[in-house]
Structures are given as C-alpha cells and as structure tokens.
Homo-oligomer: 636 residues x 2
Amino acid sequence: MKNNIRSVSLKQTKCDDKFWSPYQKLVVDTVIPYQQKILNDEIPGAEKSHAIANFRIAAGMEQGEFYGMVFQDSDVAKWLEAVAYSLWVHPDPELEKYADEVIDIVAKAQQEDGYLDTYFTIKEPEHRWKNLLEGHELYCMGHMMEAACGYYEVTGKKKILEVAEKMTDCIASVFDEEHYGIPGHEEVEVGLMRLYEVTGDEKYSRLASYFIESRGKRKDFFHEEKDNRDFDIFNMDPDYLEYNQSHAPVREQTSAEGHAVRAVYLYRAMANLAAATQDESLKQACERLMDSILQKKMYLTGAIGSSGEWEAFSKDYDLPPDRAYAETCAQIGLVFFAKAMLDMEPKGKYADVMERCIYNSTISGMQLDGRHFFYVNPLETNPGLSGEVFGMKHVLPERPGWYACACCPPNLARMILSIGKYCWNESEDTIYAHLMIGQRAELAHADIAVESGYPWKGEARYTLTPKTEEPFALAIHVPGYVSADTLKITVNGEAAEYQMKDGYAYILRKWNEGDVAEMNFPMEIRRMYGTVRCIDTAGCVGLMRGPIVYCIEGVDNGPQLQALILPRESSISEHWETEGVLAGTVTLSMEGLREEDSDELYSTAAPEKKPVKIRAVPYYIWGNRGLGQMRVWIRE
Amino acid sequence: MKNNIRSVSLKQTKCDDKFWSPYQKLVVDTVIPYQQKILNDEIPGAEKSHAIANFRIAAGMEQGEFYGMVFQDSDVAKWLEAVAYSLWVHPDPELEKYADEVIDIVAKAQQEDGYLDTYFTIKEPEHRWKNLLEGHELYCMGHMMEAACGYYEVTGKKKILEVAEKMTDCIASVFDEEHYGIPGHEEVEVGLMRLYEVTGDEKYSRLASYFIESRGKRKDFFHEEKDNRDFDIFNMDPDYLEYNQSHAPVREQTSAEGHAVRAVYLYRAMANLAAATQDESLKQACERLMDSILQKKMYLTGAIGSSGEWEAFSKDYDLPPDRAYAETCAQIGLVFFAKAMLDMEPKGKYADVMERCIYNSTISGMQLDGRHFFYVNPLETNPGLSGEVFGMKHVLPERPGWYACACCPPNLARMILSIGKYCWNESEDTIYAHLMIGQRAELAHADIAVESGYPWKGEARYTLTPKTEEPFALAIHVPGYVSADTLKITVNGEAAEYQMKDGYAYILRKWNEGDVAEMNFPMEIRRMYGTVRCIDTAGCVGLMRGPIVYCIEGVDNGPQLQALILPRESSISEHWETEGVLAGTVTLSMEGLREEDSDELYSTAAPEKKPVKIRAVPYYIWGNRGLGQMRVWIRE
C-alpha cells in the first residue's frame, strides 16, 4: 500500500451551503448554548447533567458528589469539541472565553500524574483502571483528546492539548505489553490518532496501535478483570466479547459485530492507523468490516446497529424498520469510519455512505428546533406500539428533550460543524472532492470555491485558484446512483475530458485561475428495493431522490400507513416546498391506493382499494409536525 | 338470563374419529408414559423434574430437598387429570394402579389442615399464603381440584376428591371477606367450579365467586403483600396489575389484558360462575372479554398472547407473526373459555374459536412423536433469527424436549383426551353439537353416533337413538365459514327442515330410532386477509381450508419464504397425502412467484419474479420435517 493521501483540516474549509449552513447556524445559535446550559444544569425541567460540576468538584473548586453516568465527562469533551468547530464557523469571543474557563476547570481536575476522569477521581479513586470493561475512563479521555485537538486546531491555544498530552503519558505509564488492558468502549484509539494527526508525534500512534492490536488477543481479560474486582457499574457480561469487538484480533475480524458505536469507533481508528502506518493487512481488515456493514448490516438511511438489544449489530440482513436501534452516534461514527477509509483510498462507496448518513440517519436525530433529539432512528413508527410494546420499547415516536445519557446531541453538533473536512482529500497530484457541499476550501494545490444545489439539485460548481503550475486532477465524486449517460462534467462550460475510476471523475489538466469545473446530473426519483434476503423489506419500496431517503407520515397521509400501496407504475412528482417546516425541501407526491379499513379481524374479503394521493417527505425531517405514524418502506 | 343448558361429562362420550383418535392414541401410548417417566426423573438427558419426589418428601416418605419451579406440583396434577381421561379413552389397570399410588402419595403430602403444596411444605412452611402474587399455591391446588374431579368422574374413586375437598376447607378457612386474598395466577377458580360441577355443592361456587369477585377490588393488595414479606420468588412487579387481571373488578373489564393463560383461566371461571348463578352481568363481562380476543387479539391460528414479554396480550391488533408468544396453554385455555361460554349460550362464534384452536394452535404445540413440545407457537420462523435475535429469543424454530416449566404438554394431553366433552351441550329441548368429531355420545335426549370426515371433509353424520317420544331439536353447529347456499342438511337422506340461528342449524322433530341427520358442505380453500389495522398482515394472505390454517415451509419451498408471492388470481389445488409425515392430511399447491435473490443490499432494480410452485401444509404439523423457515402469512 502506497498512501500519499492527505486529510484536510477543518480550518482549510469554510462552509457556505444552502443545506448545511442553516444546520450550522442552528447548532451555533441553539444547540451549543442549549447544551452549555444543560451541562450547567440551567434548563429547568431537563434531566440533571452535573457534568461541569463534576469537573469543578474533581478540581477541588467546590464540594459535592459525582452525579451522572460513569461517562458523564464525555459530554463536556464532546461539547468542547463542538465549541471548537463552532468558533471556526462563527467566531464568538464570549463563547471562547467560557470554553477557556471550562478548560481551566478540566485542567485543574486533572490529577498530578495526568489521570483525568471525574467519576473515579471523586467517587472511587481506589478503583482507577480496575474496571476497563465498564469504567469508560479511556473513553472519556479519548473524547477529551479529540476536543483538545479540535480546540488547538481552531484557536491555537495549547492548554487543553497539554492536558491531553499529559493524560496520554499517564495512560502510557499504565498499559504496555507487560500490563495488558483494553477499554470496554473504544474511543481512546480515535483520540490518540487525532493527537498523532495534530502533533505528528508517533508516540500517540504507537499507543493507539497498542490498544487496537491488543483487542481480542486475550479473550479472558474482561472475565479475569471482573473476577479480580469487587465492584460493578453496569454489571455487564464480561463474556459477551462481540459486544466490544474483543472476540478476535481486529485483523481477523470479518463481520461487523456488537455495539455499533463501539464498533465503528474502533474501525475508524483502525483505518486511521492503517493510513498512518501504510499497513495493508490492517487496511484490508477495515475493508472487510466496511463491506460487512454496506452489504449486510445497514438500513436504507445509512443507519446501523439494528438490534434493540445492546445497541448492537444484529445478524446479516436483520433490519427491522420498526424495532431498529440505529443510534444517531452509530451513524455519525460510520461517517467518521468512511472518511478514514477515504483517507487511505478514494472509493466512491465510502463517499456514498457518508452521503447516505449525513443526509438521512444522522440529522434525523435532531428536531428542527435544535432542542429535541433521537437516540434511536427507526424506519417505521406506529404510535401506540412504538415505545410501548415488547420489542419496540426503545423506539420513540417523538424526539424527547435531553437524555441522561446524552451522547448523541453533542456528537451531532460536532459532525455538523466540521462537515467541511469530510469533503476533501489531497494527494500529490489530485484533489478529491467527496461531497457536494458549498464552501471555500484552501487546499494545497488550489483554493476552491464550491457552489452546490445539493442535495436537492444534482449540480456542483468548483471555481479554482490553483497554487501550482503543474497539472493536477480534480477528482469529483459522482454519487453512486448517477448513471454515466446522464452525467455532465464541464470545465469552463465546455464538456470536460475526464476519467471515471472507482466513483470519481478525474479531470486532469493544468488549471488556471478562475477555471470552473462543473458537475451536473438529473435528480431522478429512485424506487429502492431491499434484497429478498432481508425479510423486513419484502414487498416494499423505498423512495430516494439524490441522497435523500423519503418517508411517509401520518400527518400527510392519514392513519394506517400500512394500508397504503404505491403501485410500481405510479408516476411520482416532486415539489419544491416554500412554506412551513418543509420549506426548502423537495417533497414527493404520487397516486397510490389505500386498502379500506374493516372491523373484522380476519376476512375472506380482501380489503378494497381506493385511489389516494400519497405524499412523501425527506426522512431526516420526520417527526417535526406532531405525533403520527411514519414509514420508509411503502407497500408496493 | 335463563339458562337451561347442561354440559356433558366426558363419560357420556367415546371418541372414534379419524383425526382425534390417533392423537388420543399418541397421548395414551406415548405422551402420558413419557410424562410419567419425566415426573419420576427416568428420562436420561431430560431436564430434572423431581415433581413426584417433591410429593414423597412432603409426605415424609423420603428425605430430600424441594426441587423445581414453585408450581412444580401442578405437573403432577395435570398429568393425573390426563391419566383420568386416558383411563376413560383406554382403560389400563396398570396405569390406574400407578395413579392410585401417586394419589396415595399426594394424600400423604397433604397437611393436617388440608394444605397441599410441596414447595411451601418442604421449603418455606413459615411463608404459606404470604406470597400469593408469586407462590402459586392456589394455582397448584386448583389443578389438583381439576385432577380430582376428572379422576373421580372416570374411576368413581373418592380418595383424591376427598383430598381436594379437604384442601378447599383449608382455603376457605384462610380467605374471606375479612381476610382478603387473590391468587397471582388464576386457576383455583376453575378448580372450584369443577368441584361444584361434580359435587353440586355450592360452597365451592361460593368460594370461586369470592376469588373472582375479589379480583381487582383492592388494587394495593399485591403491593402491600410485597411490603409485608421478606422473601421473593420471581421478584415480580406487584404493580403490574393487568398481568394478573387485577387492574379492575372483573365485571368492569372490557379488554383482554395481561398474561394470556391467567386471563383465559379467569374468564373461563367467570363464565362457569355466571352459568351456575345465572348472572347476566357477569355473562356480559365474559362476552366483552371474548369479543376483545376475537376481534382484536387473536392470531389466525386461534393463538393468543402475542407479546414476547410477560407471555401476555399486547395492544389491539399487535399480532407479530415472528415474535408471537402464543403459548400452547393459552390456546387451550381459550378452548376452555369458549366451551364455558357455550355452556351458557349456543353461539356459533364460540364453537368456531374452539375449532380454530383445537385444529391449529393447540396441537401445533406437540411434535408428532409426542415427545417434543412448543411452548411458543409463532406464525413465522426464520432459523438464524428465531430464537437468536432481539425480540425473537423466545421463538424456537424447532420443538425441544421437555421444559423445566412443563405446563403445556400435560395441558395438551388433557385437552386431547377430553375432546369429546367439548362437542356437546343439552337443554330441555335441544341437543347442541358443536364440533364435528366422530364418537358415540350418550346424551339425555338420545344416544348419538357421529361419523365425520372433518377437518378434511365437510361432512358429519349423526345417527340417533332417541330416549324420548317428545320432539327435540338437534342443533348442529355450522362452521362460520360455510355459506348458506352450499350447506346441505338432510334427515334420512331427505332435505331437512331446519332453522338457522346464531350459527346453529336447528332440526326440530320427533326423532325415531336410527334416524340419520347429515350435514354436508364443500370444503373450499379460503384466502384470508387481516384487517388493515393489523400492521403485520398487511399485503399478505393466509390460507385456510375448513378449520385448518395452512403454512408454507422451507422443506417444500426452498429458502427465503419471504421471496414467495401468491398472486390473487392463482388457483389452488388440494392433495390428499398418503405418505410420510403428512399422510392423512390435505396439502395445497399453487402457482406462485419467487423474487430472485440478489447480493445487493439495496437496488433500484426490483427483484425479478419467476414462476414457482408453492406448497402449503397444515400449520399444526409444521416443524415435523426438520429445521427450516415457516410462514403462515404469504405475500400476495
């Protein structure tokens, strides 16, 4: 493997996009301030967080008890990371000042030896590192590393980075070949690879490598650990090894298993490490795991982790729409994993899955008010059953406010604010443009202004200011659903010469100041079918247009969405919405049939069908117009 | 309510039926001896029962500890009841001798004051009656009452009846208006009503009435009980009142709720009591609860209790085929409840639901070898998912051997052996023939020999030997699916005059020795559709022929049954099978379509359809030809 591909830092991009800029504004204006208040317990009626207070107590700045989940610290870390990106998107001296204060508290909460975890520091200092299965110390520290890198990148301030560095020294002093240990929830591997990315110091990638390669090497570890400790936190089963991907050495894993968030965090770190170390066999393991997800374990919306138990991957093709777990964080993690794969090799399928997730099952996690969030992103909800009956208790038909376990909202905030960095890679001779997101990017070969009508229009326009006289390629990702014969690629208005390879259109030329490359393709509505191996999609059709998955909702279509049928021959028309919640989206309407209701539980009379108009709306926006049924898969 | 309807005892009937006699033989030859060995721990490899040993220990006949579930005694009681009926079906002096020995042990295990429960006697005598929520004392005693009545009826021996009578004195000495108590699992109410039926002594119906009427009257009872005791058995939630139907006084209940077996046992006893006391309002409560089941909570197979959690009824129309609980015992209880309703009022819908259950979701609980049993009777199984993934862990795709919680096998044994008594009621002027089961019946108005081709042929022939000169009606239940214009009823070969009322054809006349009444109707294959309110049946068709529900199995139809489609216009042909496991049944074959498999998880190409032959077999016989998929609901 020869890998000359470089990732791009957030500061090389400035988002200016009709779709994403409003989301970024929502995060900046609402989500981050709201989360700040939550972390400080300033929202009346919301579940108590106490996360900042925990740090203050650990710092000796106030008296009190630890409160919250064992991983409560990570809420602060993820918020801090989101704040970092927020300060880039929208500089805000007051917010930065407050973030600096929080960092001061965090730094004070750090122990002499670099240890940083308020739960164990306040509550059980004697149990430090004694319950890696459940303790989440390395998880929280990993998030703090990510926050540190983000904050340092954006502000140039080193204090939190120094905290992170000191923390890793502490970790490195505890774990080594002689002193085996792996975290029950992966994340520190990601944090360490971020530290490596930002500092270039190989001690971080080496420590990441230690944790990655150790996983699955000692299958009895968590069991022994449990035998050797006299306390539990969650009373997790130490023998459910798939849960935390410790059932086999990572290079031998071929199927995505266990807790979906844990899995994709691990896979991302594996890919980061493979890229950093040019490790072909590790890269292949990543490819196998990604293929396992893409080919057998992913919902149409890009959601993963279909099992309602353990927030986990289920068996291949077991993708129940109404019992999905499909945690927002898992999809965000899949975006990260896909980008890490692109950092090694530009393949359209990775950019495609990023698209699938960012436009569907990640942002579906957030109400348009920025104050209500889904943890679980089902593809079907039936009020009265969802959230209530066996098998569906975890599936809520409406987004609640804040969770005690508040991992998803700040995760979403950081993804949305840093979306620009997922758009690019560069190599010695090529700029890879993965996503059609309007922005200004300052890359090595050129500055590029992107204008895009995506996801509603199949058009992106790249205006280049090259920084080199040498020819280089602009390789534009062509979404996988675009057929070659409808694709138009021009440079300065003329049909361009380009080569298609692995889903990218390579336009290789000497670029001049102001050259404009443009990609256009028609946005056709696509009827999507699941493989017959998937029992849950049998007989149904899903609708997509561009990267957007559609759903039908009760508010538009009346009760009993299961009674609606979309005949294969029905034509579907699209509408640019200008009013209400749906303003700025394309909705679909079509002639369908509705089976009529009957009092008889079973009858020899097939339900009569009446023609009806069916309206479908973008999936990501579902549940913003009151409580009702929702379905992605429509009977055909 | 004026109720002159009498029930018929088992000893008035002698089954001689092509369908049921082989089942009775299987129970007599295999199930009962097998269960006898199980109860005595004589089957190597089977889960330990220890049920007889518990009685011996409680009787002071041997030393040892109690072993098994808290309700282990009921296994002996149900076996004893099955033995009683077995002795009627097939007299067996050796078996009777052994049963007498067991009864001797049971009698010795009974305490001075009449108390009879080996768990509490051996293990926790100080906790007697202190945990009615979980203790199952009254449940076990109720079953012993049923066994006693059955054994006394068949053999005329009084010993076990005296045990039961002494037991009820004990119960009556503990519970009264001043000393409130209701059992967490209903059954004693049934046992007491059986004692009333057999002895005519109203003290039993009064005690049954006490338990029935007390239920739901003190909603804090189980909670208080838990507060006042310092031991738990299952750690049940005392506030889940619906679970044991104590959420409201029984007369106020309108919806079937909670644990399905508990529910139908209660409803049966309510109906028995309403019949005995001519209580119109209690009868109406029973009617409402039955309608709740029939109209909103029952599978096509007659199965009930669809929730995989708590073995309970779910919300209305929540009838998932692949996550069904549908416990064999629940369906048996529904047969009992339906018969109890017929004992009050002959309505076709009650006979119809008896048919639906006895020919489908009860006997599906037993392998044709009489040695493997289902607790759970799903309408769809998918090996690899069933029994393995979240929401389906309770659904086994193959019948295992014996369960530690072995309630279903002996319950099925007693239903099959006593099937004759479910066929009849009599009133002053009418004989009601509910089921088309070949037999000789000695009724008050006449002796009747029934010959029947049911369930495969729509024919039943009643040859009468009247015992009265007075005219009386033979009211033959016409299955609800038979259309009036295809129904033929003759007497001595001539078209008979009859009146249809509530699903019964009343032939009123003076009957002469040797008169033959005959009912004939064509057995048409019926396509069944669920109401669109039921999400799980949408787009699918079920097949029935007569009372038999059909299913498709992998062994006949290859993999991925979800890929099979039965077009509405396909004609279906039937086959009388003569070989193998299916011999003696009618199977169905039809032209269908199979969607082709694809590696792509999602595709814009709808799966191609190829014509295939589909074979459907009777549901009750599924899983007798190896492990494979099974589906009742076929895509249409």
